[in-house]
Symmetry: C2
């Protein structure tokens, strides 16, 4: 999607909120530098991270943008970032798009779907420890860069329990 219409580029600061629960998504975001996250907040007020978007990643709420419905997610900057805005009017009607662009979009959607399915497999069938190790293998650069509590949130456990797991893992490696 290098050639998709991009309306503007903007600098955002760590902590800035680009999309809030209840908003109707008018834009998706392409991250030029820095890192964004998308997440939900559950009934108990706990945050659960859906996606990290470092350099060159896209992030947005496709459901809200496509169906013009209030978003259930938030998108924030977790580092100072530079972000370009992708108008979601492009998402609405695929039939009006160029063939070339459609093919690229299909590929991105397909790859995203494959990755998302892997995450479901992981959530259904792997233990917390296995999911953590899988995360470190899949996103080694993010592990360096992100606070552990965000990684815990992404893999579906508490930071305290992740801390336990890491201690157990490093203990078992020492021998």
């Amino acid at each position: 999607m290098e050639n998709i219409k991009v309306s503007k580029t903007k600098k955002v600061l760590k902590g800035d909120i680009l999309l809030s629960h209840g908003d109707i998504a008018k834009y998706g975001f392409r991250v030029k530098s820095g890192c964004l996250k998308s997440y939900v907040i559950d009934n108990a007020g706990k945050e659960h991270i859906l996606q990290f978007a470092p350099e060159d990643w896209l992030i947005g709420d496709m459901d809200s943008a496509t169906n013009k419905k209030p978003s259930v997610i938030f998108i924030d900057a977790i580092e100072d970032s530079e972000v370009s805005f992708i108008s979601t009017s492009d998402f609405g009607d695929f039939h009006s798009l160029e063939k070339e662009l459609l093919a690229e979009m299909s590929i991105k959607l397909r790859n995203n779907l494959i990755a998302t399915n892997k995450r479901i497999i992981s959530l259904l069938s792997a233990t917390a420890k296995e999911r953590y190790i899988e995360f470190t293998n899949t996103y080694p650069t993010l592990v360096q860069r992100l606070p552990l509590k965000l990684i815990a949130s992404y893999i579906g456990i508490t930071p305290e329990y992740l801390s336990d797991l890491r201690r157990k893992i490093s203990k078992s490696q020492k021998k």
Copy 2:
């Protein structure tokens, strides 16, 4: 994808396996009648259901088909079914496809991605009880039709615990 190339139609019996762990997926499947499921088997030998595919649904292993890699999933018939085979060569190179078909594929991929993301939100942020109630609301016809143990597997719990939950739910409704 009504107009995608479909090589053949075939009747399959309950229990028949259409794709096995280790296979490279040569076909996706469109279900004409009956119902298929896709699932993984974890290290402990437990089955975890990724998808149900009743009438008019598509099911397959996109990762295996796209990347010509051995599948990590199985696809079986859970009822006697009639199924048409979709050649996965269509998946490989999007650029060679008709524009109209690409637009339809993009829409299907997008909708699938939206649904898949909802499932991740549910797995991360909802309790087992909430996930069960959500399932019954989202797929009321499947609830009638499928054994509870398959639903338990789909929402990520054991059949015994689902049984407990159902008892608690019906007890709390009686008052």
